[in-house]
């Protein structure tokens, strides 16, 4: 087992085991912190795949942004007098677990059962000298975003803007509705 293989196994365990924990642990804050570990494992897997920019974007946006957003959502929706049941009842959990296990088994069967064709000439890019010679992929991603993927890039920009404005509008603090100030 080479060194990069060992790195893969470490990050794979970090990505999968906390996801398993999210399924079983009690307490929503614990789930959030387990999600942090899982996302960090995915960032490591991106780095292991040679996608440096993507790995650090994952850390910045997922761990630094989305997870903090989740923690804010938890804080704003947790009240002692509003009890939250952890799981759905047995009538929902049993079919749900059944469906989830079937989906997982199906995906595993596809992943393991297919001899995925890998081009021989350039398959192991783990060659250290080759990796050092290559330009960092950040520049390539920038070129791609500004040439091939310009239209999706702009669409996503507009989507993000609309989502931001919409979220701020939906979650705004309202004043108590009074009859005088009510908009008909």
């Amino acid at each position: 087992m080479s060194f990069s293989d060992a790195i893969f196994w470490v990050f794979a365990v970090i990505a999968v085991l906390p996801a398993l924990g999210i399924l079983f642990v009690r307490g929503i804050v614990r789930m959030a912190f387990l999600l942090l570990f899982s996302l960090a494992g995915f960032a490591g897997l991106y780095l292991e795949l040679g996608a440096g920019f993507l790995g650090f974007t994952q850390v910045l946006i997922y761990i630094g942004g989305i997870l903090i957003l989740f923690l804010f959502g938890l804080m704003l929706t947790a009240r002692m007098d509003v009890p939250v049941r952890e799981r759905a009842g047995a009538a929902l959990v049993i079919p749900g677990a059944f469906a989830g296990v079937i989906v997982m088994a199906f995906l595993l069967f596809i992943a393991l059962g297919n001899p995925w064709p890998v081009p021989k000439a350039s398959a192991p890019a783990a060659d250290a000298s080759l990796a050092a010679e290559r330009d960092p992929d950040t520049r390539d991603i920038g070129y791609k975003l500004m040439s091939t993927y310009l239209l999706p890039f702009e669409a996503v920009s507009v989507l993000l803007l609309v989502a931001m404005v919409g979220a701020a509008y939906i979650a705004r603090a309202r004043e108590e509705p009074t009859d005088a100030g009510r908009i008909p």
Binding site: I22, L49, W116
Partner: protein
């Protein structure tokens, strides 16, 4: 024939997995996390927990894009760009979904996903 395909395929995959890390390994990690995400979505009640399961799904899909991009076209990075879009859309989705959850909590005083049933058809 299906039986032989099953046997050869699964055994071949497992045998291959004993060697160096390849595309199959990433696909297996991604499949496991995707299945766990679906299980979280289907068995949890808390709306924020369901959103966490959704993030697991998006991450698993993104890992698949990057892994396929690296192993089937190593000199191209289109898979990485697609995963970048996935991350951005996940950010938009998370912010909107949390805003809606917050509104449901303020109006109905519950955060359970099956508590919002005042719009019964």
């Amino acid at each position: 024939m299906i039986a032989t395909t099953l046997k050869l395929g699964l055994l071949g995959g497992l045998w291959e997995s004993l060697g160096g890390v390849g595309l199959t390994h990433y696909l297996v990690v991604s499949a496991l996390v995707f299945g766990l995400g679906i299980l979280v979505i289907l068995t949890r009640r808390n709306a924020v927990a369901v959103l966490m399961g959704l993030e697991l799904l998006l991450n698993a899909a993104g890992l698949n894009f990057v892994a396929f991009s690296k192993y089937s076209a190593p000199d191209r990075i289109d898979g990485q760009v697609v995963t970048l879009f996935v991350i951005v859309i996940a950010a938009a989705e998370a912010s909107l979904a949390l805003a809606i959850t917050l509104n449901i909590f303020n109006n109905l005083n519950t955060i359970e996903v099956d508590g919002a049933r005042s719009l019964k058809g």
